[in-house]
């Protein structure tokens, strides 16, 4: 009998609801932010010469030469990177705050109750949870608009 191999999942099941999408965003943004953090530390450390003799020219060469010089259209790679990181931070932060409020303080969790058949409302679909989830979505959208205005505003003529 096969013991180790598991039946592969139906991916579609995890792309149906906002809850599932928030988990995907949380995981992906968390990974991207962790990679960014490593990259950021390495880039700044390189610019600082890893604690050795540093000149203003070396710093400028790394920070402005490598990160700010290359452009995609009218926007520098550095600005684009910061824009993406800002969006990821907004998603990760807003959803993380929702999870902390819920898991630490239990805010928005319904009280366990007796069943009302057929189909009691599962807790992820409870009103308080909807408010949480849509708040995360709205905060993220507002942040994206503000970040877009900041980075691309001049370019778009805003």
């Amino acid at each position: 009998m096969q013991k180790t191999r598991r039946v592969s999942p139906r991916w579609g099941l995890w792309l149906r609801g906002l809850d599932e999408w928030l988990v995907i965003f949380q995981k992906v943004s968390g990974l991207a932010l962790a990679l960014y953090l490593i990259g950021h530390v390495l880039a700044v450390s390189t610019a600082l010469g890893f604690g050795h003799n540093l000149t203003q020219q070396q710093w400028n060469a790394i920070i402005f030469g490598v990160l700010e010089k290359p452009h995609i259209g009218a926007v520098s790679v550095g600005a684009l990177l910061e824009y993406l990181i800002g969006i990821l931070l907004a998603i990760h932060g807003a959803n993380g705050f929702r999870l902390i409020l819920m898991q630490w303080f239990g805010i928005g969790l319904p009280k366990p109750s007796r069943h009302t058949f057929p189909r009691a409302t599962p807790s992820p679909n409870a009103t308080a949870q909807r408010v949480y989830k849509y708040s995360v979505a709205i905060i993220t959208i507002i942040f994206i608009i503000l970040a877009t205005y900041d980075v691309f505003g001049a370019l778009l003529g805003w």
Binding site: Q2, P9, G17, E20, L109, R114, P122, S123
Partner: protein
């Protein structure tokens, strides 16, 4: 002496009008993902079947087995949503075959697959060894400090108020069908994750006012492979056929661990 006619009791016929049952028929194609343990591979097979609006998926599968393909392996027992044996992925969602009617699904092709996140045995029958061992690992039973009193000298049953019962009752309806385990994306990502069913039972017993083993049980689930693997996707609660709401239970356990309060 009474006459024969007067001694006969008059029998009144009570006519009860039963609701009219309309049987509607239609032909559907069952697309079944089968597993061959000898070749260690999956393959799809299609069967045409005429069903009515009263037929369940389990009825249909058994009909296919009887009339078209006796090699089709199906696991079932009670046929009424109590035993939890016939869980499978129907049209992309984990459901109980005995509680799902193909007619209600509204599609002319119905896909049937084995539950995901568990190893296959044959066709749509899956192996629940790990699932049950995860369940057992959280000590899902009443733990008392004084075992002698519990098992030998029990003078009276442990009293419990209605309110205390409400704290855990909904989680005690679990039938161990494995639908939540199959639907959970975190079980897919972390093979060692205990899963929503076991964790819900950890809460069920820890929230019971008669239980004195919460400390021991919570220690077992306060790990990376325990409650902290859960990211509250809520898929487990959405597919649960008994509305047990494992996602709620897991978050209640987290709250217990972080606040130190039992309830």
């Amino acid at each position: 002496m009474a006459t024969a006619s007067s001694s006969e009791a008059s029998v009144e016929t009570i006519k009860i009008k039963l609701p009219e049952i309309k049987l509607e028929k239609k032909e559907v194609i069952f697309k079944i993902k089968r597993y061959d343990p000898e070749k260690d591979g999956f393959y799809w097979k299609e069967y045409k079947l005429t069903i009515t609006n009263r037929t369940t998926i389990l009825d249909a599968l058994l009909r296919i087995k009887e009339t078209q393909d006796p090699t089709l392996a199906v696991r079932y027992s009670c046929r009424m949503g109590i035993c939890g044996s016939c869980g499978m992925v129907i049209n992309g969602t984990p459901r109980l075959a005995c509680e799902t009617k193909p007619y209600d699904l509204g599609t002319s092709t119905i896909t049937v697959e084995p539950l995901s996140n568990v190893p296959p045995v044959k066709d749509i029958v899956t192996d629940f060894d790990k699932f049950f061992s995860n369940h057992k690992s959280v000590s899902p039973w009443l733990i008392r400090k004084d075992e002698k009193e519990q098992f030998e000298d029990l003078k009276e049953y442990y009293p419990q108020t209605e309110e205390e019962l409400d704290n855990y009752l909904q989680f005690s309806y679990c039938i161990k069908c494995g639908l939540c385990y199959s639907a959970c994306p975190l079980v897919f990502l972390n093979k060692e994750y205990l899963g929503p069913q076991a964790l819900a039972q950890a809460y069920r017993w820890s929230a019971d006012s008669r239980d004195q083993g919460a400390e021991l049980r919570l220690k077992l689930v306060d790990t990376d492979n325990g409650v902290w693997s859960c990211n509250y996707s809520g898929t487990c609660s959405k597919v649960c056929p008994k509305d047990v709401d494992p996602a709620l239970a897991i978050n209640m356990v987290k709250k217990m661990l972080l606040t130190g309060r039992k309830r």
